[in-house]
Symmetry: D4
Subunit: 215 residues, 8 copies
């Protein structure tokens, strides 16, 4: 079995009862489970369900993803930086954070640093370098330029998440995805649009390997 990757339930296409059943079954054999892309109407139901079962819950700002766990999660893994270009990308970034934390990574976050002016990016990047993060996740919609920019300024591997923010031609994250893939800034790879889970998974993966090497 692969180490440290939590079970993730894709809730969007499941009924609430199916979700509950899978949660229960999963927590019998693991300490934690992530439920992602929860329908609005099911979100509070899952909170209540967890409370009744005395399962602890971690939520994400503006996020439809939840992390459920039994014993407290410790951050003995690597460190991951998480950035968003705008405030609209925070929900996706938080999904990544929950995933990373479930995989025992400490996260340093900097949200809404990419749209209003280039200068806001410098202090947070400096902090991430100082904290020695092993991977930086950048969530950005519209033209998605922040991922390229960050990757061109640091030696740290960058995982770009195009987000489905924007309208008109290139909407739904398509322009951001295309830009990130076309980027000529080396040190950048991408996951699918809005897929905070996948970004969190590989980032934690990178950070945790790095820390194991160090130890």
């Amino acid at each position: 079995k692969r180490r440290g990757i939590p079970e993730v339930i894709f809730a969007e296409t499941k009924e609430i009862d199916e979700i509950k059943k899978i949660v229960k079954k999963t927590l019998e054999k693991s300490n934690s489970v992530i439920i992602s892309r929860i329908k609005k109407k099911d979100y509070t139901k899952i909170l209540a369900f967890a409370k009744k079962l005395k399962i602890t819950i971690k939520t994400g700002k503006n996020s439809s993803t939840l992390l459920l766990f039994k014993k407290p999660i410790t951050f003995h893994g690597g460190r991951v930086g998480i950035l968003t270009a705008g405030t609209s990308d925070i929900g996706v970034a938080e999904e990544s954070r929950l995933m990373c934390e479930a995989m025992n990574c400490k996260c340093i976050t900097g949200y809404d640093v990419g749209v209003a002016g280039i200068q806001r990016i410098f202090p947070i990047l400096k902090k991430m370098i100082k904290e020695d993060v092993d991977c930086i996740i950048v969530a950005a919609g519209m033209e998605g330029a922040l991922a390229t920019l960050v990757s061109s300024m640091v030696d740290i591997p960058v995982i770009g998440i195009p987000t489905s923010v924007g309208y008109g031609y290139g909407e739904k994250g398509i322009a951001a995805l295309a830009s990130m893939l076309q980027s000529c800034s080396l040190g950048l790879s991408v996951v699918n649009i809005d897929n905070g889970i996948a970004a969190g998974g590989i980032a934690a993966n990178i950070a945790n390997r790095s820390i194991r090497k160090k130890n």
Copy 2:
């Protein structure tokens, strides 16, 4: 009739004899004519044809476009700045330059300033501001980020030209076009992929109006 917009012959879908015939007919009633997207095999034939007719020719670096004129063209119009991200975008930028010059604009160019490092953009932008250009054209391929960047740093209207440089998803200028259209940097509008003629036309248009106001 509209003032100062030269006749442009779209050579790509025309036989050399048709082109020659249209050139002749056009130069009977105007001082200049532009021939754009000339097939490789026709380029030198047109140079020879012009020479024989004692028509002066202006060429563009790496460009398939030619400007032909009878009396010398003076630069009594406005000023236009032209930038490219890489060396591969120069041909398209030069097409814009020929178009602007045919419309009596003086051009300040800065090529290959966008890929290798952000720092190369500052001196040339400073120069353009000092020369008081009224419009800046930015030709960029791949993810096309330079247009957004420039537009976010100046108050001058920017015309973005996505170029067909790049491969894979978003190739043929599609990623650059999508990025520029999705850009949240105000002060930017775009023309079609590789269309240096259209960019030159509107830029000269803006610059010349501005100068007329001034006078």
Copy 3:
């Protein structure tokens, strides 16, 4: 800092409380703020919120965009013409008008002049030329032919806004965008589908530079 470009809040992906918070913070340091693409259910809430704070509001016909300001806005900038092909394009055109007015431009508008018959376009174009507008915005959906038509009749730079009006193949503004980009009428550049903000931004930019030159 760039002169005269107001802060624009993209409301579509934000909760009402986030919007209010950003409005407050912005108006502390600027005189005006634009809120665009407001969700239907939030529109009246924002009107009420502004009223309570004694902030003046300018609305646009059929538009989901609002302009909020503290001190009255004067029209000491340039002049911009705004046209729409049909009545369905008015909301987007009004977004451009609010943006231009926030940037101190006087707007001359002519709505619904492009569909029923070509003859309706002439008097309004004549008026715009007489008022000496420095830029014309043309909002058009379906096949978007009005932008090409206007641009081929005047020397004034034209900014085309494809609108998401229409259905079937080329729906959601795609046909209009493609037409405007393919247009062989020089003097036309485009912004993204329904993006009245971007069109207003560059048009006011052009008009205001022109007026500064004159003065």
Copy 4:
């Protein structure tokens, strides 16, 4: 069997020997045959082959299509008008003409009337109305606006042929096709990109029915 529709050989995907064989077999039972989209290298071979067999040939300007027939073709059918926007659309328009003539229609053509200025369209349209054509074919590339324009000015049914002229977004006739389909001008239907055969077929069909009614 359907009346008056000639056999059409689609040459693009056939070897020269297959083409010759089909021509021979077809001319055994019909008076005429059309060969369309002939590869450059096969064009003169087919001319020679026809000459040797004493079959008369009708060619089209800039066209890869040929009409072969044994007995002279008379124009006792209806009348069809054929227009092109630019010179680059002539090859496709000529394919339509050959098809119409094979179906015994007299054609009135007006080429290169749509790009340089709207005024060139009026005399030729007036002539077509006077000659009482029953259908007008309009071949146009880039944004394909001429089809909409013509259809909005006459009561005669218009068949639009988008042509594959243009480059960048909407290239290969896609923008022209989308525009014509989105057109809000009633009286217009379309055939596929570059398909002069299909346009000729339905136009002649319409014109010939009309003339039969009259007689």
Copy 5:
């Protein structure tokens, strides 16, 4: 002015009050008006509004389109055949019927003749030929094969309407549109997906010209 083409109001993007205003204004100078793509919630409101104004209304089965007129409409024009492949295409076909009737054409309809078995098409086609229709409209979704089939069996010009019936790859009428455009059956041209108005307009146009010739 063009003869016999009624004003058509595109209701989808208009508010009910705008629609009412345009209806009133139009009926002041014409006898009839068509309102197409009426939102569900507005449909009965318009019926009531017409009733109150004593305007006669013609509805179409499953159709969101209405024909309003003052004096009775006579069928002194040509004849048009209208076919649908399935029952799901009837709404669009009825839109065409209303348009044709507004243009004084008599319509012969045959609905749901194309899906369950090829044999159902023959009696209705025979009837249409006997009634001497001058044009046949074929509305078909999914793979849209009925238009090709009909056009290959008759000499009458066929106007294909791809309908947005179907799901998966090629959904929303895209497969049907592509098929009809690729069809190698001569005598077929198409309008945009679900555009019963456009099909009705050109079909009536063809039929009415034919009848005028006859008279």
Copy 6:
């Protein structure tokens, strides 16, 4: 190991020397090998290579695929019918035939039966039913209607191969693929555009299972 499926070498992206090496290695352990999508310039080289090695070769009409084998191949498997709409689809159909024969199936073919007239399909279908084929492959380009038609007339499973014949919208087999996928005729499944190998593989698979059951 799976029974009876020959090794297939995809030659398009391989150099001639790589191909030869793989052929040799494969024929050491199997009796036959198929080489598909051979570049024009390599075709005769492979023929020569096989001759020198005394390997028997089976070619297909108009096909870029070759079947190489050591001991004669017997047809003790099931029976497969193979149809094409036009003559341009024969190369792809022949690729399927070679694949089926390599899998010991007897093939009954009927080429060019779908375009010129529906009546040509009946005798060949009757023959296939009489020969009791267990699967019918239908290769068709343009709108690909033949696959739907055949499948609606027989109880035998049909495998559709969209071919890349056609031009304009839906070109390169896209319209044919979309039509076949949208087809409401039950008993039809498809393989990718031009993929005669895949169609042959599953058809032989079906036919051979059927024959094994019988025995």
Copy 7:
């Protein structure tokens, strides 16, 4: 008439009353009818309607499809295996099961065997081989890899159904469809996205022919 293929009503675009009418008419001449893609709001209405008419109903888990029949259906036909990758694909798989059962096939199902780990696939595949199924249906969303995998492990023909599960680039089944079509595993053909009916139809078709041969 074709044997054993039940009438299938496509409910998505039909009103409840139309559906009831067609059900009644169909059951007058056949023993069974399938209603597919029933709108949520109509599902229980149809259950009630069937109950009142004393028609037996078979439902599918998570499926919007119903099988209605008068006399009990016997499984004297062939055998079909049905697999899904995730729990989200079950509804589509159940649609296939209902179709197969209506065609007298016995189904062996294995759901949710493809996502969490490759090992879950082996026991169910072994069982299907032992039960000697003649065709395996594989429903899979996201990247749809299960269809390729299964087809590479068995000699049994596989019908892939891409399902519309997933989000971002390649969403709505597009990635799964593309993967299955590109699959280099021989023995696989596909139906359209979410089209459990089509998959069931051809699978039962294959299985029933095989059983007839055996008998």
Copy 8:
């Protein structure tokens, strides 16, 4: 300046003289330079040019990329595993290898392990785990399933490169890209189609950070 990332010249859109000039200039200040996507006709010219200048060259099998360096490159960095599904993906994989080696990484390669049978993947994966690689690059075309498969079997971060191998729907790497992005196997991120440079860049980046931590 960023550590250890070599200059990469994108040769596809450059003339040979430009390339030579950039090579010279780059090698004045760095030890190595990579030239990627060299046109066939320029490849040997660059080899000769390097030889004349006494620059050492490293080539890649089937690759259009070259690594030029002055002093020998040592492998004191991390370790990277590189896999390809077929032989057609080797050229792209070799581009990654050259990039990794230029960044001082030792590469363990396993080519052609993914198509013919799943069993070939195990020994090479075992070796990579034993050699303790810090990142695995997987180059795969067609449906690109190998990247998902590898990523689901190891804890090592995987970078997928979709390659432009394949034809028909999803060709040019589009299916492989979509599959990899849709993959529900955590631990996978992707670069653009055929972009061995980008994959090599981030993989070496990850591996080198890891090794630095260890030291």
